[in-house]
């Protein structure tokens, strides 16, 4: 009984911390910027792939034992840079239109999924060459004053032209340096991330065993939450981020570089997604679909927690994680065994699929009482 209880608590916290880690970046991007980033899961996936690459690069070196720490840093940097590009390239045109960001980032997520399936040196060369030609030409032409008028023509000519040139080059190189050049980096197959030896296995206690990997994730989550909290509340950039999210125009007037702040916030959120991706690679598979599994659950965490509140996200993640675990495992069935109808009901829901059904119903019910989530934004600005 004791071991069962311990196990339940540990598993609930551990599921919750995975959710929280995945939702943390989302909470920042969604809560602070109002951007619905459907590609958040794919950013996690990129983090997981980065982990895989770091693992392979360090295989056989003395650093292999601690590759996971290097991978964490690498994942953060890679996804943060990617987030930066995403923000500058797409998101910044869509501020204040959350539904549009949702659709656009969904498009990005599809592209990212296919990207890891199809990426090869050939593809990279083609895309890079295209960008070079197209944006190079644009840079040269854009300085002319009458550019705006000829813009349509310019695009109509330059896009196919640079595309053709890039593809031709890519294909020529492809035939010249075959297998190596055209070989897919990852393909559609899942790749393996094996935790370093000290993270495998578990810590035995009272007849049960606490997985090291999960303990690691719990610690990582705590570190991230504390780090983010500290960053937002105790650093000048954190202050700026909070200022911009509360009143963009006023902040701009006060000389805060809002564009930089936006980019930074988004990069931070994306970087956290990378960390989460690295963490989940210890638990599950790494493949093009990795991110898809988390996206809806993490959004639910943010919605239930209340937007823009870290504390809300923490409680919501733990609650949803624990609820999912308790319902999905037999724990509740056993606990309610004396009350037959109740335990039968729980037994009906005691598979992972059905647990999700019940948890969702509970969330809808919860929102009936607290439509704004656990910690709703208060004051008269809401629903003015």
């Amino acid at each position: 009984m004791l071991s069962g209880l311990l196990d339940g608590i540990f598993s609930g916290i551990s599921l919750g911390s995975v959710l929280l880690l995945a939702a943390l970046g989302l909470a920042i991007v969604f809560g602070l910027m109002g951007v619905i980033n459907m590609a958040h899961g794919e950013l996690m996936m990129l983090g997981a792939y980065t982990t895989y690459m770091v693992q392979n690069a360090l295989k056989g070196t003395p650093l292999f034992g601690i590759y996971i720490f290097i991978a964490l840093i690498a994942a953060f940097i890679v996804t943060a840079i990617f987030g930066l590009v995403l923000e500058r390239g797409v998101i910044r045109y869509l501020y204040g239109r959350p539904l549009e960001t949702l659709l656009a980032t969904w498009g990005v997520s599809l592209i990212l999924q296919q990207l890891v399936r199809s990426v090869s040196w050939q593809l990279v060369t083609i895309v890079a060459l295209f960008c070079l030609l197209f944006f190079g030409a644009m840079w040269i032409v854009a300085r002319r004053t009458d550019f705006e008028r000829a813009r349509g023509w310019f695009l109509a000519i330059m896009i196919p032209l640079s595309a053709a040139a890039a593809i031709a080059t890519g294909n020529v190189l492809g035939t010249l340096y075959k297998p190596a050049f055209t070989k897919l980096w990852f393909d559609a197959r899942n790749v393996d991330v094996t935790a370093p030896k000290w993270l495998r296995g578990g810590f035995p206690i009272a007849g049960t065993q606490f997985s090291y990997a999960r303990i690691f994730i719990i610690v990582l989550t705590i570190a991230c939450v504390v780090g983010v909290y500290w960053f937002l509340n105790n650093t000048p950039w954190g202050l700026r981020i909070r200022a911009v999210t509360q009143n963009r125009t006023m902040s701009a007037c006060l000389g805060i570089p809002t564009k930089k702040v936006d980019a930074l916030t988004f990069a931070l959120g994306s970087g956290l997604a990378g960390l989460a991706g690295c963490a989940v690679s210890l638990l599950g598979s790494v493949g093009p679909n990795t991110g898809q599994n988390y996206i809806v659950d993490t959004f639910m965490v943010v919605v239930v927690g209340g937007v823009g509140k870290l504390a809300g996200s923490i409680i919501a993640a733990l609650a949803i994680g624990t609820a999912n675990y308790l319902i999905g495992s037999n724990t509740l069935v056993d606990l309610t065994a004396p009350i037959k109808p109740l335990s039968d009901t729980f037994a009906f829901f005691s598979t992972i699929s059905m647990a999700k059904v019940l948890v969702f119903a509970l969330i809808i019910a919860f929102l009936q009482f607290r439509p704004g989530g656990l910690f709703p934004q208060k004051g008269r600005t809401v629903d003015a």
Binding site: K378, G379, R380, D383, A384
Partner: protein, 253 residues
């Protein structure tokens, strides 16, 4: 003495530990035009929020036309005959002024009627008249998004009138308007006051002087004083609230 259209007793509103309205008592006669003034944060907008049902009072009650509005939500209170104009003009930007007015003018506001009802010719005439009154005939069939700020303000007041409420709540109607427009709006309100009860919230003292008969001063969630413009202006408490304590003044100087 005429009948009270609105009566508010012991109204208190708390927001998450902040008391926005504190044991407020207020009443308005039918047909009266009342101006409410008060420094920022005095609770003026919250006051309107409570009357229109947007904010639920923590304690106390609002009685409109002799009936408590407790348990009613915004649209029900609006149907009872309370119309509200917001600080910034809120109109349907993707509809034309004519359509905006038609929607407000419509008497039957349930879903069924929206689907199967058609505007009656009387309603159409009302709308046509209103468009003239608010001076938007030239732009009656353009998207409202294209109107200027002043035109939007006038359109919203027009929508309010089209709703033919018994009580009009007008929140800072002349904010951001030119002097000429301000005067137009003032005249419009005075004309409306002939047939409606109106509460106006305003900062612009010139404007208040133009329209006010009776003024209520709110301060820190309660009524500080009430009376004619001159009485209020000479009240020492009001002077203190607006200009700060005399000693402070001296100290600062």
């Amino acid at each position: 003495m005429s009948e009270k259209i609105l009566q508010i007793e012991n109204l208190t509103v708390d927001f998450d530990g902040f008391r926005a309205l504190n044991n407020l008592n207020f009443s308005l006669d039918t047909g009266e035009l009342r101006v409410i003034i008060g420094p920022n944060g005095a609770g003026k907008t919250t006051f309107l929020d409570v009357i229109t049902g947007k904010t639920k009072p923590t304690t106390g009650q609002v009685t409109f036309k002799g009936k408590s509005t407790k348990g009613n939500v915004e649209y029900q209170i609006a149907r009872l005959g309370v119309g509200r104009k917001f600080q910034t003009p809120r109109i349907y930007l993707n509809l034309t002024p004519r359509e905006n007015l038609e929607l407000s003018c419509n008497r039957y506001k349930n879903v069924w009627n929206a689907l199967f009802g058609k505007p009656s010719s009387a309603e159409r005439r009302t709308v046509a008249g209103l468009i003239e009154t608010i001076g938007l005939d030239a732009k009656a069939d353009l998207k409202a998004a294209l109107l200027s700020h002043g035109e939007k303000q006038r359109l919203e007041i027009g929508m309010l009138v089209a709703q033919s409420p018994d009580l009009l709540l007008v929140d800072e109607p002349v904010a951001g308007l030119t002097d000429e427009e301000t005067e137009n709006v003032g005249n419009l309100l005075l004309a409306l006051a002939e047939s409606h009860s109106i509460i106006v919230i305003e900062h612009d003292m010139e404007f208040v002087r133009q329209i006010a008969r009776k003024v209520t001063v709110l301060h820190q969630g309660t009524v500080l004083c009430e009376g004619s413009m001159d009485e209020v202006q000479n009240d020492p408490r009001v002077i203190e609230v607006y200009l700060g304590k005399q000693e402070d003044d001296r100290a600062a100087a």
